[in-house]
């Protein structure tokens, strides 16, 4: 497939006919209804959509946290849809970085140790200090989560996610629990990682403003891709206000 810019780009993910049905008691909830999607090396994608549009389900499947009911999702040469639990764990461990709305840091570990938690088990990690410097926390490395602000905690979470040098960084509402100013700092850190490490980055949000910093914006609605929009000019995080 061609990059919309017309260039030959390498597709990191190729999703075809992705369907996800959750049994909820006696009702079947259709979260995804046949999504086709490609994500390319190094691009910054924002997934926009209202609650229940299926964006988190899609992210979970891309991140190896869930498997599709039907359809395929290829990560490079590999078909994630047939992976078992152990293979998915290895996939997450080696290739995926996650950033969550509520940071999910380990409160008993310092910033440096939270990052080290991941670098200790990844094959080609950067040093925890390097990762923390990348998100602007070089001077807060020995602080415990309880000693940091929400924005700082989220930046630790980003450092933790990228320290393994993942091919893909998946962020689920990374600014959802933050105020505008700290939110901007966090988004800036994500953009910087995307730019400097070339990590394919997917950010879920229902804050449309954030879409302005993406290469591509994918709108999901009712379990389907409603539209794909390409930004001609990516804004810097500092330019965003909401």
């Amino acid at each position: 497939m061609l990059n919309e810019a017309g260039g030959q780009a390498v597709a990191v993910f190729e999703a075809r006919g992705l369907t996800k049905v959750y049994p909820m008691g006696e009702v079947q909830v259709q979260a995804l209804r046949g999504v086709d999607l490609d994500l390319y090396q190094g691009e910054f994608v924002v997934l926009l959509g209202p609650s229940g549009s299926g964006k988190s389900t899609l992210l979970n499947i891309l991140g190896g946290l869930d498997t599709p009911t039907d359809g395929t999702v290829r990560y490079g040469e590999h078909d994630l849809s047939v992976y078992d639990d152990a293979a998915l764990t290895r996939y997450r461990r080696e290739h995926v970085g996650f950033v969550f709305q509520f940071y999910n840091l380990i409160p008993s570990l310092t910033a440096r140790e939270n990052v080290a938690l991941v670098t200790e088990i990844a094959p080609h990690p950067m040093r925890p200090e390097e990762a923390l410097a990348l998100v602007g926390l070089a001077d807060r490395m020995d602080h415990f989560p309880a000693q940091m602000s929400g924005g700082e905690q989220q930046r630790v979470a980003i450092a933790r996610a990228i320290a393994k040098r993942p091919q893909v960084l998946l962020c689920d509402e990374p600014t959802g629990a933050l105020d505008v100013q700290t939110g901007v700092l966090v988004l800036d850190a994500i953009a910087r990682v995307n730019r400097e490490l070339g990590t394919t980055t997917v950010v879920i949000t229902h804050n449309a403003v954030i879409a302005e910093m993406a290469d591509r914006v994918i709108h999901l609605s009712d379990g389907l891709v409603a539209s794909v929009q390409r930004n001609t000019r990516k804004k810097a995080a500092a330019e965003l206000r909401w």
Partner: protein, 789 residues
């Protein structure tokens, strides 16, 4: 009326936490169960003893004598404070039981020809009393008759004062005087080899030359009668008639053993339920505090809906009450069942005609209150903390918990610790008190586990010392009366007899200052190989040429040290009173007595070389032949076989102590599991979010299991040594409390006992870990990303 929604929540919450609720209920059940078991058994035995003694007029003062005319009875009755006096003829006889080759000894007690016993009345189990004037009829103690399978009308032979006489069984009976039937010198009953028989007064009197006379008397006291004064007067009256010194009921053998046993049971009844209830209460408190703590958000939600603090508190109290009540009810049922079982065992051991078993409501109320109070305290505290928050605040995620580096890391070990290991040690340190309490709970369970086995260890050790190192004869023989030393040669000449050592036993009362003790001084042969005395390190002691050695505990009772002088009142013959020097103390775990060189004792008694009996080592192939010969020797009053003593010892231990050991062991196992499982389960609930986050980051199941179970593992490993140490103290406490003149229990714990306690705790930990591990595999990874804590 439909169930209110909040009550439905209660039942669903309970169902959700069923595993934990069950573990808590089981622990409460064990606590309440032991409490009820011990108290009901103790109450039942005490009530039975009281009623039986009262209804069957158990006497209060007893004395044996040589021979006194019946007319003396009147003088005895005139002693102030005496209510009734029962004179009788008592003799130890040898029996020849059909189909039983071993010698059997019986205590033959006369009953008035009128059949009416004013004191120590018989409870007739079967048949009738002896018909007046019948010299060939006897009533046998029921356990003796049972042991020999005797039916009414069966005949057997007795050697009465050297004359063989045929006897017919006409009845079986129980007597308050022989609740515990012990052959003199034994600690355990052996109904096959020792029994009590009742015979007509006239017939027995005739056989023993006691016509119109008596050689034993039992008295009851009038209200306000003083036993001490009565005894002094009685001794005075009986002195010319060869009185051996009267004793109070508290020194009467059967009563003595029964009271010791009850006292022991009372000690256990205080200690064990205390430990079990304590652990149960502690566990309830911890678990419930944490359970309710986990429901912080739900409490906020309930409050947001407009439920008041009281309603919220009520809700959780109800939840806890359901769990605890389930434990209490099952515990009471279990306790009653076990109590009946235990009382049944004691009934076998002590022959009561009936058992007054009653469940006292106070015991149930106490047990219930302790459990409920412990649970309510935990709940109140936890709900209070949760309810004190404003709903909005409580619904917000809790700020990250505060952690810091632990001292383990500051010691410089940090770089050796992986991040997961750091998580474990920091978590333990942050919840130090809770962690310590968990350790303590597990440790107590391990400690109680040891107490069950301690009794076996120490009994085996006692048998080993008593029968393996000290009393090493195959047979011990007692003569009817002091006999010339040459009787030894007759024994030595028997085929199969390898070695003979003789002894002289003199009944005495030892006095030192205001303290006195009635026992025997045993004269034994110096350098003997069969009968040896041991010092505190269990090395054989050389017998001094003069002076007396005392059992260490007797030294303690009389407050004497080597070098002190003792007053010896001899209780036989012309009853001289002399002094002797204590030259040393010897270690003995069973009974207390004095020991002298045989020749020294003969000198002390100013008699020739007399002996009271002999110890034999024999070739066991000749056992039956030797028994047959001994039965035919008129001088031989009784024969005891060491192997049989050991068997009796073990049998009784098995029946009484082991039951208790099993109960203690099973309950401790349940408690160990309850503590460990609950700790693991709570750790899982508290840590599930963190663990799920780690799974998302790519940690495997094994890796997160390490984080969760590592903490439990460390706590368990810390708890085990502490538990073994605590267990040793508990056993020490039991041993100290079991110390009396009948036996002293040494603190002996085999390595296997430590190993067993540690293994049970480890197995509980592993089982709990497996259960929790299964739950870890079902962590909801996605939910954790979407929800705050």
């Amino acid at each position: 009326m439909p169930m209110r929604a909040i009550d439905r929540k209660l039942w669903r919450d309970l169902w959700q936490m069923r595993g934990q609720a069950l573990a808590i209920a089981l622990v409460v059940m064990c606590g309440v169960g032991t409490y009820i078991m011990f108290l009901t058994t103790l109450d039942a035995l005490r009530a039975t003893q009281d009623t039986y003694y009262r209804e069957y007029r158990f006497a209060q003062v007893f004395s044996s004598l040589k021979r006194a005319p019946e007319s003396l009875r009147q003088r005895i009755l005139e002693i102030p404070g005496v209510d009734q006096a029962e004179t009788r003829v008592v003799a130890q006889v040898k029996l020849d039981m059909p189909d039983f080759f071993e010698p059997v000894t019986a205590l033959m007690v006369s009953i008035p020809d009128s059949g009416h016993l004013g004191l120590n009345a018989l409870y007739l189990r079967q048949g009738r009393l002896v018909a007046p004037g019948r010299a060939d009829e006897v009533v046998a103690s029921a356990p003796f008759a049972e042991a020999h399978g005797l039916q009414l009308g069966d005949r057997f032979h007795a050697i009465l004062n050297g004359r063989r006489q045929a006897l017919t069984l006409v009845g079986t009976a129980l007597s308050p005087e022989h609740v515990q039937q012990l052959r003199p010198g034994s600690v355990f009953p052996d109904y096959k080899r020792y029994g009590v028989l009742w015979m007509g007064r006239q017939a027995l009197g005739q056989a023993y030359g006691q016509q119109g006379a008596f050689n034993d008397v039992a008295l009851s006291l009038a209200p306000g009668g003083d036993a001490r004064e009565v005894i002094d007067r009685l001794d005075e009256i009986l002195k010319p008639y060869g009185g051996l010194g009267a004793i109070e009921r508290k020194d009467q053998r059967s009563h003595r053993f029964l009271s010791e046993e009850l006292q022991q049971l009372g000690m256990l009844a205080n200690m064990f339920p205390g430990i079990f209830m304590g652990i149960a209460a502690f566990l309830l408190n911890v678990v419930i505090t944490r359970l309710v703590g986990m429901q912080r958000e739900q409490i906020a939600t309930l409050k947001a809906f407009g439920y008041g603090n009281a309603a919220v508190l009520g809700h959780y109290l109800k939840l806890v009450a359901v769990i605890v009540c389930a434990g209490i009810i099952s515990g009471v049922a279990l306790g009653v069942w076990l109590g009946k079982l235990l009382a049944g065992i004691y009934m076998e051991f002590y022959r009561f005609p009936y058992l007054k078993f009653a469940l006292h409501p106070e015991a149930v109320v106490q047990a219930a209150l302790i459990s409920l109070f412990a649970a309510a305290a935990g709940t109140l505290f936890a709900v209070w903390r949760a309810a004190a928050l404003r709903p909005a605040e409580a619904m917000r995620p809790e700020p990250p918990a505060r952690y810091r580096e632990t001292w383990v890391e500051r010691l410089g070990l940090k770089r050796w610790l992986s991040q997961p290991t750091r998580m474990i040690v920091r978590h333990i340190q942050r919840r130090l008190v809770k962690s310590l309490l968990t350790v303590l709970g597990i440790a107590l369970a391990a400690g109680t586990l040891m107490t069950g086995f301690f009794q076996q260890d120490t009994m085996n050790y006692m048998i080993n010392v008593q029968y393996g190192m000290s009393q090493r004869e195959d047979l011990s023989i007692t003569f009817t009366e002091p006999t010339a030393r040459r009787a030894m040669f007759e024994l030595q000449g028997l085929p199969g007899v390898e070695h003979v050592e003789v002894f002289r036993a003199v009944p005495v009362r030892l006095r030192h200052g205001h303290r006195s003790y009635r026992t025997v001084i045993r004269g034994i042969e110096p350098g003997g190989d069969i009968q040896r005395l041991l010092d505190a390190e269990l090395r054989p002691v050389r017998l001094p040429e003069d002076g007396v050695l005392l059992t260490d505990y007797l030294g303690y009772l009389l407050d004497v040290r080597p070098g002190d002088r003792l007053v010896v009142e001899v209780l036989e013959g012309n009853r001289p009173v002399r002094e002797v020097t204590v030259v040393g103390l010897v270690k003995e775990y069973m009974g207390v007595s004095g020991y002298m060189d045989l020749a020294a004792l003969n000198r002390f008694m100013r008699e020739g070389p007399a002996i009271s009996g002999a110890y034999l080592s024999i070739d066991s192939a000749y056992l039956q032949e030797i028994f047959n010969t001994l039965k035919g020797m008129p001088r031989v009053a009784g024969v005891a076989q060491r192997a049989q003593e050991i068997r009796n010892f073990k049998r009784v231990m098995k029946e009484t102590m082991l039951f208790f050991s099993y109960v203690a062991t099973v309950f401790s196992m349940i408690i160990a599991f309850g503590v460990v499982y609950n700790s693991a389960r709570i750790a899982l609930t508290e840590g599930s979010r963190e663990l799920a986050s780690l799974r998302v980051l790519g940690f495997t199941r094994a890796e997160i299991s390490y984080i969760l179970l590592g903490e439990l593992g460390i706590l368990t490993l810390l708890a085990i040594p502490l538990g073994l140490w605590l267990g040793r103290w508990l056993c020490f406490y039991i041993a100290i409390n079991l110390q009396n003149d009948l036996y002293r229990v040494p603190l002996i714990l085999e390595p296997a006992t430590y190993a067993f306690a540690a293994a049970v705790v480890l197995i509980s930990a592993v089982l709990s870990a497996l259960v929790v591990r299964r739950k870890l595999d079902h962590l909801d990874l996605i939910a954790v990303l979407k929800t705050k804590e």
